[in-house]
Every structure is written in C-alpha cells, then in structure tokens.
C-alpha cells in the first residue's frame, strides 16, 4: 500500500546509506508512513503487545539460561538457586513464567478479534495461516519451557504430551522413544527440550516477520470490514496515531502483567511443580497450564486414545481452513446479526472447555466435555458454512471514512447541503 509520505533522506550520510541499504526507508514506510484504517479500536493493539511479549520472553529467557542447568539431577535445584541466590533472579523468572501466560492471553484476544471481524477472509488467508503457525509454535515452545524446571507437573506434563504421539499407528512408539532419547522421560528428554525451547522463539520471530510482511502487503482489516478505498480519507499514518494508541494499550497491559508478577506470581502455576520430578509417582490430579485446557478437555472427551489425539490436533487444524469454511462475503460481525450471536456462543463454549479441562475426568464433566467438543467442531464445520448462505447481513457503510466521519465529511459524494455551515 502507498503511504502518506515517503522517506527522503536528508544529509550526506543518510543519502549514502539509503543508496546502499534502504533500511531507514523500510522502517519509515512500514512503521511511520504506513497507512492504518482510521477506525481501528483497541482490539487492534494486541499485535503490538504480542511483539513486545515475544521480545520480553527472549530477553528474560536469555538471561535465565546464564543460571539454569539443563540436567535432570540439577535442573530443579538450579531454578531454586535462581529464585533465592541470583540477583533479581526471582524477578526474571517470574517475568518469564508469567510472561508466557500474558503472551497467551494476548494471543487469544488477538485470535478472537480476527474471528469477530472476519480478518481471515480474502485477501488475508495467508496472513491468518501464518498466525495459526505462530500459535502452534508458541504452544510447542511454552510446553517445552514448562518442562525445564523439572518439577512434578513438568515431568508428568512431558510424559502425557509426548505420549500423545504414541497414538500414531505403527511409527508412534518409535517417535516417542526418539523424542525421549530413552525409554521414559529423563535427562536426555530434558536436554532435547532445553535446546528446542531456546531455538523455537527465534523461529517464531521469523514467522512473525512473514506475518507482518503479509499484513503490510494486504493492509489491515478494520471494524467495518470494508477495504480502504481512499488512503487520505480512510487512513491515518502509523506514526503517531497507531504508535501512540499501541503505546497506551501496552502500558495498560504491562500494569496487568506487573500485577501478576509482583502480587500473585504463582497464581497461574501449580503447587506440584515445586516438588522435584519423581518418575515413580504421578500427582493425583495433573493438569496442563491454563492456556492448553480447552484442547486438553477435547483430548479427554473422546473415549479412544487415537480418537482423542486426532480431535485435539483437529481442533487446531480446523483453524487453518477457517478462511474457506466461513463463506459469508461480509467480514465484520457488526454487520452479521446471526454470526455475532454464534461467535459469542463459540467464545462461551471455548471458555467452558477450558474450565472442563481443569476438572477431573469423571461424571458430569465428561458429558459436558463431549457436548462442548461436538459444538466446537459444529461451529466450524456446519454453522459457519451454512450462515454464509442463509444469513441476511446488514448494509455496509460505503467506506471507512463514511463510517467514522459521516458521509458529509470530505467525501467525494458528500451531501454538502446537509451541513453547509461546517464547510467554511
């Protein structure tokens, strides 16, 4: 997209550099002059918040590695040493551990925002798919990171999740042995996960680069779902408008983050993880971290090992096909009265699945899990395709500018007579 202004280097050095490596121009066109729809609300600030969280996790992670020991006999003690002996170690570790949760809070809001406003529809399918890939990489990274403290939940979480692969026919058990580097979760497994936990955030950073590239190529969606038609009327430059709005939201988010870090740093964790890993005793009630609970509930809802694993991965895989499952031409739920209701039912079902995932697998919880799992897939595979055909949508505004400013303000088809006194 064309920006509001273009970068013109002033001064000899800037010109000399721009002729050889146009990096300042690149930053200027993508973070200063880049046109953003003028009607974006605060839900659009989570991309920036997520970028901040990725950087924060990498920074705290890199310094934690200066003290952590990836060895089954020393890992647990080294984490305690970080908490007690290392200068500000407690702060760095709590920032990193709670940072993972904050990362997922932000990514879930970001995903649901995309669903509400139909941000995955053409021409943004690849942008959406890259996002789902980032989500998968985040899950893998968070899972392996949770194993590193080598507490009871680390150990048994690792056991259960790696055993998921044993459900694959024929090669499953060999894959599990390969992941473990032995015949059970042990020192070799810890070292595998440590290495990959350090690697994957940089892979995420790479895919985030593609995600932003795709975003800047097709342009941002907006609350009306109407494409930008007139850059001058429908958009504002990224800086200062989006930069400052993102900044305000980020500060509020950091207050929320800090509340967890300084007041309830273990609220989202499990007490069992302060017990060193014991391969002979499974804790009475093992649950994954909160951000995996909806998928865990789906896994447990199916009374078959392979079936449960297939459905759990299917719950994420279905997201890849969302751009083609939702057949409605209208993007934003603001103009889709039925989809708007189904969207909120879907959010409620996803939250319900999360709650069920934290409950023991018995009695009413199993029945509810099955119903909620069925609805989860029904939403994507039946409701969305049907809505595209049967839903009667509301009329869309003619342009983004019209929706914000009213059609009388500077539009080509302005009804000047309606407000002649404002035209000066």
């Amino acid at each position: 997209m064309q920006g509001h202004s273009t970068y013109r280097p002033t001064g000899g050095v800037a010109k000399w550099l721009e002729d050889r490596l146009p990096i300042v121009g690149l930053v200027h066109s993508s973070a200063v002059a880049y046109p953003v729809p003028r009607n974006l609300n605060y839900l659009w600030t989570f991309g920036g918040i997520l970028t901040f969280m990725l950087v924060a996790q990498i920074l705290t992670g890199v310094v934690l590695v200066m003290h952590y020991v990836p060895d089954a006999t020393k890992a647990f003690e080294s984490v305690e040493k970080i908490m007690r002996d290392v200068n500000y170690g407690w702060l760095l570790r709590y920032l990193h551990a709670n940072g993972a949760s904050m990362f997922f809070i932000a990514v879930y809001i970001h995903i649901f925002r995309g669903m509400y406003y139909g941000s995955y529809k053409a021409p943004r399918e690849v942008l959406w798919i890259l996002g789902v890939i980032i989500f998968l990489l985040m899950m893998a990274t968070a899972f392996m990171g949770y194993v590193l403290p080598w507490g009871q939940m680390s150990f048994w979480g690792a056991t259960v999740i790696t055993n998921l692969f044993s459900a694959i026919p024929l090669v499953g058990p060999s894959i599990v042995t390969w992941l473990w580097g032995g015949f059970s979760v042990d020192d070799a497994t810890l070292k595998h996960f440590f290495s990959l936990h350090y690697l994957l955030p940089f892979v995420i950073a790479g895919v985030v680069g593609l995600h932003i590239w795709a975003l800047h190529h097709v342009g941002q969606n907006n609350p009306t779902g109407v494409e930008v038609k007139d850059i001058r009327r429908d958009t504002v430059p990224f800086t200062p408008y989006a930069t400052l709005k993102d900044g305000v939201a980020l500060v509020v988010f950091m207050i929320f983050f800090a509340y967890f870090v300084f007041y309830i740093p273990n609220y989202l964790g499990h007490a069992d993880n302060y017990i060193k890993a014991n391969p002979l005793v499974t804790p009475a009630h093992i649950v994954p971290e909160w951000y995996f609970l909806p998928f865990y509930a789906i896994l447990r809802a199916i009374p078959s090992k392979l079936g449960g694993v297939v459905m759990m991965f299917g719950a994420i895989a279905v997201l890849f096909f969302l751009p083609w499952l939702d057949r409605s031409k209208v993007r934003s739920a603001n103009y889709r009265p039925l989809y708007k209701q189904f969207f909120w039912v879907f959010v409620a079902v996803a939250v319900l699945l999360g709650w069920l995932g934290s409950k023991p697998p018995e009695g009413i919880y199993v029945t509810l899990s099955r119903l909620a799992t069925a609805y989860y897939f029904l939403h994507f595979l039946v409701i969305l395709p049907l809505l595209g055909t049967f839903e009667k949508t509301k009329p869309l505004p003619a342009s983004i500018g019209d929706s914000v400013l009213g059609s009388s303000y500077g539009g080509a088809h302005a009804t000047a007579a309606a407000a002649p006194e404002t035209r000066g």
């Binding site: 790696t162 032995g182 391969p279 093992i286």
Partner: protein, 190 residues
C-alpha cells in the same frame, strides 16, 4: 560463427532435463544422508540401551500388597494377589475385555488375556506389570478404580485385578515385562 544463446537448450531439452534431475536427485540423497545423524542423535544412546535388569526379593511382599520397583526408568508393579482377587480376575468373560491380547512379553504375541496368561506361570497370585498407563504414560494408583485393580488419575482408565483395561481411554492392558523366577521367592526383571 554460430551464436550461443540461452535458448540453445531448447535444441536438446531431454539431455538438459536429465542432467538437472540427476543432479537434483543426487543432492537430495546427499541431504538425506547428512540429515540422518542430526535426527538419529536424539535416539537412546548406548548407555541407555545397555540398562541392565533388576532383581526383586518377593519374600517381603505380604498378601494383598503391591510394590513398585524401578526398571528402565519406569515403575514395575509386583502384586501379591489374594485368593479373592485371583478368582475375580478369572471369572471375567474375555468377550467383555476391550483388549483381548495378553500383552505378555514372556508369551507369544497371540496369547489371549485370560488371567493365566497375565499372572506368573504356576504362581497365580503373582502379577507383574509395567506400571505405566497405556494411554498417555501416567502411573496408575494401586487398589483403586471400579474393577479392583488400578485407576489412572490422569484420564480415568480403570484396570482390573489382572491389570487389564476395562474402562477409559487406554487402548491396551498393562504390559507384562520380560521376567523370570530365580528360585521360589526371587524374580529377575529384564
């Protein structure tokens, strides 16, 4: 003089295509060979493979008691079953078992899941099984569940007094590891 241009390839496309394909295939095979050490290094190393066997003295296990022994990093349950528990396991109709295989490494793989094929040969009170749920690898709780055997706390699999899966998501009976009696009251696992 004839001018050589890039389009000359068009005169003999077959030869050029063959060279491209052959070079590409050779490079792909080379990449595969190079990738293998990077993948294989994650498999169990020689030290893990060399893990030995474990000997257990059964004399200290009283009737009805289950003990848990570590073998190859996993627990093995040794259960001195009571008469009632053995009878209960024998009474079960094989038709109602989700997994009809014995899962006993000491027997041929087609042996059925009758109690005689699960318990120690000739000493039916002894049941030796790997204490790892066949669902996702948690350690089941002894003397729990609705079938008088084990209950896995993670996802609710119930095993009976012969360690056979009866209800829940686990697909297989608890595995019987390779073991042998050494004298009357001692076994060697592995």
């Amino acid at each position: 003089m004839r001018r050589v241009t890039a389009t000359d390839d068009a005169h003999d496309p077959g030869r050029r295509d063959f060279l491209f394909l052959a070079t590409g295939a050779w490079a792909a095979a080379g990449a595969g060979f190079l990738a293998w050490p990077f993948i294989s290094q994650m498999n169990p190393d020689a030290a893990s493979l060399a893990l030995g066997s474990t000997e257990v003295d059964l004399g200290q296990i009283s009737e009805g008691q289950v003990v848990s022994i570590k073998w190859r990093g996993k627990p093995v349950f040794i259960w001195n079953r009571t008469k009632a528990q053995v009878e209960e396991a024998k009474k079960v109709d094989l038709g109602q078992l989700p997994d009809k295989s014995a899962r006993n490494e000491n027997l041929p793989s087609d042996a059925d899941a009758a109690d005689a094929n699960r318990a120690a040969p000739g000493k039916e009170n002894w049941l030796v099984v790997v204490g790892v749920c066949t669902h996702l690898g948690c350690i089941p709780l002894s003397n729990s569940g609705d079938f008088g055997g084990w209950l896995c706390p993670c996802h609710g699999s119930h095993y009976d007094s012969a360690g056979r899966i009866r209800r829940g998501p686990a697909p297989e009976n608890l595995h019987v590891p390779p073991y042998a009696f050494e004298g009357d009251s001692k076994i060697k696992i592995g």
